[in-house]
């Protein structure tokens, strides 16, 4: 599903974020990406949805080699990948419903489909009753659920989450994790960068630790392995 071959990434300012990374993630896997701040986690995440391009190496997603991907086809790659951020990135002037629908409108989905898909996914994250509220009327956990709803409304094969519980209290974090597990059970591949020792050590999944731009550990049902 996702194959990284000897990926190197050096930014224009001279910083080497990744020094040679080989990772193979299968369809339907749930993977935590852990490691110290600035070790290359975010770069790894951004490479997958083609926010940045590698300096060397190959990334293959669903049989598609990203080096061969033309700039104008990047949007079609992104439609297969849902992305969730620490800071939710919701549009404050749109309601919850509109925020989720926006993701479908801009890829020119038909109105009939938008209505059903949005209501379905709001049901999944348990926010059907808040559809007409605005983001600032919701708690942090609820806002994150909206952003997850937006990420998965188009049925992507892969969901990438960059510290999705980073801004949330522990209790809310568990609720969010439940949703990710639910999505994973439905067959979606999940890649989550996280700093939460509790989550990684409690909900056991594959753990990839990135340190100084290299894969330091890659274990099924692994431990977090760092002191918080």
């Amino acid at each position: 599903m996702i194959i990284l071959k000897d990926i190197q990434k050096k930014y224009n300012n001279g910083v080497t974020a990744l020094g040679g990374v080989d990772i193979h993630i299968k369809k339907g896997e749930f993977v935590y990406v852990v490691g110290p701040s600035g070790a290359g986690k975010s770069t790894f995440i951004r490479l997958i949805y083609r926010e940045v391009k590698p300096t060397a190496g190959e990334i293959i997603i669903d049989g598609l080699n990203l080096s061969d991907l033309k700039e104008k086809n990047v949007p079609y790659l992104r439609r297969k990948i849902g992305v969730v951020f620490q800071d939710f990135k919701l549009l404050p002037k749109l309601t919850i419903y509109e925020n989720v629908a926006f993701a479908l409108e801009v890829i020119e989905e038909s109105p009939e489909n938008i209505r059903t898909k949005v209501m379905d996914v709001l049901g999944l994250v348990g926010l059907k009753n808040k559809a007409r509220h605005f983001p600032n009327e919701l708690s942090g956990g609820e806002q994150q659920r909206v952003s997850i709803a937006r990420a998965i409304v188009n049925n992507p094969d892969i969901v990438i989450a960059d510290e999705p519980t980073g801004n949330l209290d522990p209790e809310t974090s568990w609720e969010i994790m439940e949703i990710f597990e639910e999505i994973n059970v439905r067959g979606t591949t999940i890649i989550m960068a996280t700093h939460s020792k509790e989550i990684v050590n409690t909900i056991k999944k594959r753990v990839i630790a990135i340190e100084n731009g290299f894969v330091a550990r890659d274990e099924q049902r692994g431990e977090y392995g760092y002191e918080n």
């Binding site: 439609r79 890829i107 020119e108």
Partner: protein, 313 residues
């Protein structure tokens, strides 16, 4: 059969989708304009000023061209024949002139006819010339019309060298001066217009830059969820085109009203045969369309510049 109908349905669906998308883009374009308030107003103002000047210069230059053209097509070469030439010489000369390349027609005017037309053209003062009827000082002449006005000089030149030709005259100087004046007007107009067009483009691109910045969050999310670059760009294109088109409204009204006034009032006062303004219809309509097109072009160009710079999609 089933396949075909399925395909047809698909194409219908996608056309419907495109119309809906287009409506969305136009909506967004209008929203952007009202969102940027004063900056939009400034852009539209810049386009308006530019287009008023463009319109005025175009109307002036095109009319001058027309006048010059009218005069030019009236041009004829007059070859005066030496008194010593007999009838035979005159006939030979006529054939020779006719055989010159580019000559459309040659007509003979006897000295009596020349005098008659001179007397007529001078009105009452011409009466004095009647005295000369007894002993006509004028000579016979050939009146030569060139095929194309441009050939006037070369035809005149060739006729001068023929036997029995005393003198050749033609109204080339007047036309040359008119054309020189025309060129000046055109060049000054062009420089002014280019400067103003650039200013208008700059202002529009700045206005659109503001929209892009105000909506950077939204654009970021659009990119993230896989909106195509075209989809992201379109509203800004439309915003630019609308700014340009709105800027052309006042200039077009001015052209229609102003030209109609000129057409009605000046035409009668200027009664030289060669000064003939281009008629209101279709000229003013064509000019209005040109102004609208230039406005839309300015708007599009402004948005292209902005989108390129600030929207690395």
């Amino acid at each position: 059969m089933k396949m075909a109908s399925l395909q047809e349905m698909n194409s219908e669906v996608s056309t419907a989708m495109k119309i809906r998308t287009l409506i969305r883009h136009i909506n967004e374009g209008f929203k952007n304009i009202s969102r940027n308030g004063w900056m939009s107003f400034a852009s539209i103002g810049a386009v308006t000023v530019t287009l008023i000047l463009v319109g005025a210069f175009l109307a002036l230059i095109l009319n001058l061209n027309q006048i010059a053209h009218n005069i030019e097509s009236d041009v004829e070469v007059k070859a005066f024949i030496e008194r010593t030439a007999d009838e035979n010489d005159v006939r030979n000369l006529g054939t020779e002139i006719e055989s010159i390349a580019g000559v459309k027609s040659v007509s003979f005017a006897s000295n009596d006819e020349e005098l008659e037309s001179l007397i007529e053209s001078m009105g009452e003062e011409g009466e004095a010339w009647r005295l000369f009827k007894q002993d006509n000082p004028l000579t016979h002449a050939f009146i030569i019309k060139p095929e194309v006005p441009k050939d006037t000089t070369s035809i005149a030149e060739q006729v001068t060298h023929l036997d029995h030709v005393r003198e050749v005259t033609y109204g080339k100087d007047t036309i040359d001066r008119l054309f020189t004046f025309n060129d000046y007007a055109r060049n000054i107009g062009l420089v002014l217009i280019i400067g103003l067009v650039l200013t208008a483009i700059f202002l529009i691109s700045n206005t659109i830059k503001l929209t892009i910045m105000a909506r950077s969050e939204e654009i970021g999310i659009m990119k993230l969820v896989g909106a195509t670059n075209g989809f992201i760009r379109w509203p800004f294109f439309i915003e630019g085109m609308l700014l340009g088109a709105l800027g052309s409204v006042v200039p077009i009204l001015l052209i229609l009203v102003g030209y109609n006034y000129l057409d009605g009032n000046i035409r009668e006062k200027v009664s030289f045969s060669f000064v003939e303004f281009l008629p209101f219809y279709p000229f003013a309509i064509q000019l209005s369309l040109i102004i609208l097109l230039i406005g839309v072009f300015i708007g599009m160009w402004g948005s292209v510049m902005s989108v390129r710079k600030f929207l690395r999609v």
